[in-house]
């Protein structure tokens, strides 16, 4: 599918706010997503990602600001907005009383789609989700990864151009995650706009063209994964472990090596352009860490820099 230079805006949020009593879950955030982009909301649990997703999905009323999905206000034109979307919720809410294939067909009926479309479409989607041989199985007999794939297949029944994914791979084993990523990547290649929340940095790096880092309901930074890493971190990171009680003490001795040092409870992070050189410098000072590891900077480091906390707590 050819990309045009001026892509229409799919989502436009301006000063979007959600309050529950005294608690502000989403605090005046603004962002725009053009068609075809993969847009991520990265942040720890409780950052306000899911609340934002529910407002975009037209199932939660905002407390302030404006929000337009395909130019429509989800509060006034909820059914019209939701008709455009495919939604993969954080928690699987498949219909346990229905069989696997019927879950797809019944869901499609909510969009008013006729059975002449839904029956063959369900078979295609089962194939896409690698669940063809489970078509007549009961939902409760599926593994966690299969349920997740069925939920994604279900969200595609109306052939949406915009897909909302809330923590799509949380709780899945690595292999199941890679299958899902492959499927999502194929959808992205097909021009589907993906909006996803995650607290996995690798997922954000794999799937997102651009993302916002969210913490406590606010946007801390915005950009592509590589640009964010360039802006907020060094090229490489040296991870050192001196033993639980000695990390803080060793930090003083390491001072001056690299551009920045972070002390975590279990390890020391030395941010440097050249990790190996930093490690050599540490050896020259007569320090001998129990373990050392040089790696590329990741979004985890960006988050740590921005908030002083880890993504997964």
């Amino acid at each position: 599918m050819p990309q045009t230079t001026s892509r229409p805006t799919v989502i436009a949020a301006d000063q979007l706010t959600k309050r529950y009593g005294d608690f502000t879950a989403v605090d005046a955030i603004s962002f725009e997503v053009p068609a075809g982009e993969s847009f991520g909301l990265l942040g720890p649990n409780g950052a306000g990602k899911s609340t934002t997703m529910r407002m975009i999905g037209g199932v939660s009323q905002r407390s302030g600001g404006t929000l337009r999905i395909m130019g429509l206000d989800p509060e006034e034109q909820g059914p019209e907005v939701r008709a455009h979307l495919g939604v993969v919720p954080q928690e699987d809410n498949l219909d346990q009383e229905l069989k696997v294939r019927d879950n797809l067909i019944v869901y499609g009926r909510y969009f008013g789609l006729p059975l002449s479309y839904l029956r063959p479409k369900a078979d295609e989607l089962l194939d896409f989700a690698q669940l063809t041989d489970k078509a007549n199985a009961r939902v409760e007999d599926l593994s966690g990864g299969m349920k997740r794939r069925l939920t994604i297949a279900r969200s595609l029944i109306n052939d949406p151009r915009v897909l909302l994914l809330d923590e799509p791979t949380t709780g899945l084993d690595p292999q199941a995650r890679h299958i899902l990523w492959d499927r999502l990547f194929r959808l992205k290649e097909r021009g589907v706009t993906l909006i996803l929340t995650t607290h996995y940095m690798d997922e954000a790096e794999q799937l997102c063209d651009r993302l916002i880092v969210v913490d406590r309901g606010r946007i801390m930074a915005e950009g592509s994964p590589s640009a964010l890493i360039r802006q907020y971190s060094t090229r490489e990171v040296l991870e050192l472990r001196f033993g639980a009680d000695r990390n803080a003490g060793a930090a003083e001795a390491v001072e001056g090596i690299g551009e920045r040092i972070e002390v975590l409870p279990d390890r020391l992070l030395v941010y440097a352009h050249d990790g190996e050189a930093a490690l050599e410098a540490i050896g020259n000072r007569g320090l001998s860490p129990l373990t050392s590891l040089v790696r590329r900077s990741s979004l985890e480091d960006v988050f740590l820099r921005l908030t002083g906390r880890s993504l997964i707590e």
Binding site: S60, P79, E80
Partner: protein
């Protein structure tokens, strides 16, 4: 919700063909799953929204009825077994003692079987409603979260509420029809109007069930409330609604249970319809109005609770 609102889409007549032609060269070479090269094109989102706005309640009822198919054997066993048990035990067994000792005058000149049949019919509708509007509601919100799937589609929270209510109403109507056939088989209804007791009994079911639905939707932690409803609301309503004996034979301080009970109102209507029990026309009208008011009030309240809880 009139019958003309039925979705034409199920008839699949006015739908455009679901496939569009593609060049033959591209059909043979498939890269990856068929979904990615699909020729199946759905109608546009605006059509989805328009259809959902009109027929959403029916779509959701369809889902519930499909779900009930999963326990259809139990639904049928209940619908047939329940009347058989009660009619044999009370309409035949207990009746043989009652009729022998009452001299025939106690129940307005009809047999005990005829007297209790409309009451059993209405009570059965209430009992089914008690199950379908309590645990099933909790399951939709909390246990299986089945309400949250459709919530992400063009359907509205109000339609999710109404669709559930509609499906249960259909089940109660079907169950009452089966019940009436068995009542007729026992020779317990003589009037040509007996068929209408299907409607009055079902009305008792929704008049009791829809307020219960609103209550169930407001519960966030189920710690035995539904069992209490069964024991201290459903059972007293069954026993003290002029079901097994005329309400007037109860002491005055218990008669109010009958007056507020949907089962009593539907039972009295059922007696008028199934054997011509004589009561003033205004009283029959009052029964109907009371049942409609309970059902309507319950639905309004339930819609509100659903919207608040699902869109919070």
């Amino acid at each position: 919700m009139s019958s003309q609102q039925r979705d034409p889409a199920t008839g699949e007549r006015d739908e455009p063909p679901a496939t569009v032609p593609v060049p033959s060269s591209s059909t043979g070479q498939r890269d990856g799953p068929a979904y990615l090269n699909s020729r199946l094109v759905p109608h546009p989102p605006a059509t989805s929204a328009a259809k959902a706005r009109r027929f959403g309640t029916w779509y959701l009822a369809e889902q519930h009825l499909r779900g009930m198919r999963g326990y259809l054997d139990i639904v049928i066993a209940y619908s047939v077994g329940n009347p058989l048990v009660y009619l044999f035990a009370m309409g035949i067994g207990l009746a043989s003692l009652v009729d022998a000792n009452s001299g025939g005058g106690a129940f307005g000149g009809v047999s005990y079987l005829q007297f209790i049949a409309p009451a059993l019919l209405a009570s059965a509708a209430m009992m089914t409603a008690a199950g379908e509007f309590s645990y099933a509601v909790m399951s939709g919100f909390k246990w299986w979260k089945t309400y949250y799937g459709p919530l992400a589609t063009p359907l509205t929270p109000q339609q999710i509420c109404q669709g559930h209510a509609l499906a249960v109403t259909i089940r109660i109507l079907a169950q009452s029809a089966v019940y009436l056939v068995i009542v007729l088989f026992f020779g317990a209804a003589t009037s040509g109007w007996a068929w209408a007791t299907i409607i009055t009994a079902s009305l008792a079911g929704v008049a009791f069930g829809l307020p219960l639905m609103a209550f169930s939707a407001s519960i966030t932690v189920e710690k035995g409330q539904f069992a209490l409803v069964q024991r201290f609301i459903v059972m007293p309503l069954f026993l003290f609604s002029g079901t097994l004996f005329p309400l007037s034979t109860l002491p005055w301080f218990l008669q109010w249970i009958g007056w507020i009970s949907p089962v009593w109102h539907a039972t009295e209507l059922g007696r008028v319809l199934s054997y011509g029990y004589a009561e003033p026309g205004w009283l029959s009208a009052l029964h109907v109005l009371y049942l409609l008011a309970l059902a309507g009030g319950g639905l309004v309240l339930a819609r509100r609770v659903y919207a608040r809880r699902l869109e919070g």
